[in-house]
Amino acid sequence: MDPNEKETDEAQSLTDIDRLIHEPARLIIMAHLYVVEGADYLFLKNQTGLTWGNISSHISKLEAAGYVAVKKEFIKKKPHTMLSLTDKGRTAFREYREKMKRVLDELNGKGEKS
């Protein structure tokens, strides 16, 4: 394969990364939701260290993309919101991780050769 062609492919794989997930705060939110079935805002705030406003804004974006489901319910007459990854969100996160791993492996390989 032509080295220039290979470089173009590698650059392409970088631009193919899901930018919605790639943002650090959204990435850490997605990662935490990935390892559980569901969680509430307070849990995410404690685990991620993000502010309420930050979490709220990022969750809105992820919900708009169909990655996160927001379920409002009542627990003992008090409103409560549970967040969970949709199937689309879980698939997107898995694909993101695989792509990032490929990109980083390629970069590491390039670094060793040079």
């Binding site: 850490i28 990662a31 969680a39 509430d40 849990f43 309420w52 008090k78 409560h80 919101t81 549970m82």
Partner: protein, 228 residues
């Protein structure tokens, strides 16, 4: 900048966050402190007198654990739901815990019976070392096998790191009682051992509990509901 996230490490961090509150340590602390009252019920039949005080303080500790989780920990840490895979794993752990608890209870009772009847059972075929120190080795063996090992295994599966310390301290109780007996006799040997071990574990629990309260103040209700 690497974007690799170790999901196993993250999962562990999520699950172990619920041990931050020190409530499990408080439970075990209360359970062991019950042993301080064993000499006060020594008039009851042997097996009963060793169980009742710890049963009572164990129930108190359990009530504190359950109420604490519901009214203190969850409102501060938030809620999460285990995945189906994790639920299945939890059920397996509970099954292992139940089996170990039964084995541990049986070993403890057998050990108690043996340690009390041993002085009257001559064992001339044993080497001198074992004849002399049999009582202490038995006490150590029963404690470590009957308590430390099961709790250690459960702590491993539940990722409860402080469980190893509690397992080791709890397993030393019978052995320490035998040691203290040499210096202070009965019933002070029992009171001191359970008081010290229970006190250490309870103090550990209190330390983590107070630190947890400082680190995680109660959030405003509208923030929790996500309607901020």
């Amino acid at each position: 900048m690497t974007r690799e996230i170790d999901l196993k490490k993250l999962e562990r961090k999520v699950f172990t966050s619920h041990y931050e509150d020190g409530l499990w340590d408080l439970f075990f602390g209360f359970l062991f402190l019950g042993g301080v009252f064993i000499p006060m019920v020594s008039w009851l039949p042997m097996v009963l007198f060793s169980i009742i005080p710890q049963l009572v303080t164990g129930v108190i500790g359990c009530a504190i654990l359950i109420a604490g989780k519901k009214y203190i920990t969850t409102p501060r840490l938030g809620l999460f739901k285990y995945s189906q895979r994790q639920e299945a794993r939890k059920k397996k752990i509970m099954l292992v815990l139940t089996i170990f608890s039964i084995i541990g209870a049986v070993l403890l009772i057998l050990g108690l019976i043996f340690s009390i009847t041993f002085p009257t059972v001559p064992q001339p075929e044993l080497p001198v070392f074992l004849r002399t120190y049999n009582k202490y080795l038995t006490a150590l063996g029963v404690g470590l096998l009957g308590f430390s090992l099961p709790l250690g295994v459960v702590s491993y599966f539940l990722k409860f790191d402080r469980g190893y310390i509690i397992a080791l301290l709890g397993g030393m109780i019978f052995f320490l009682t035998e040691i203290f007996y040499i210096f202070v006799g009965t019933p002070l040997d029992t009171i001191l051992t359970y008081g010290i071990i229970g006190g250490i574990i309870l103090s550990m629990g209190l330390f983590y509990f107070l630190r947890f309260l400082r680190k995680h103040p109660l959030p405003k209700e509208e923030m929790v509901s996500g309607s901020e």
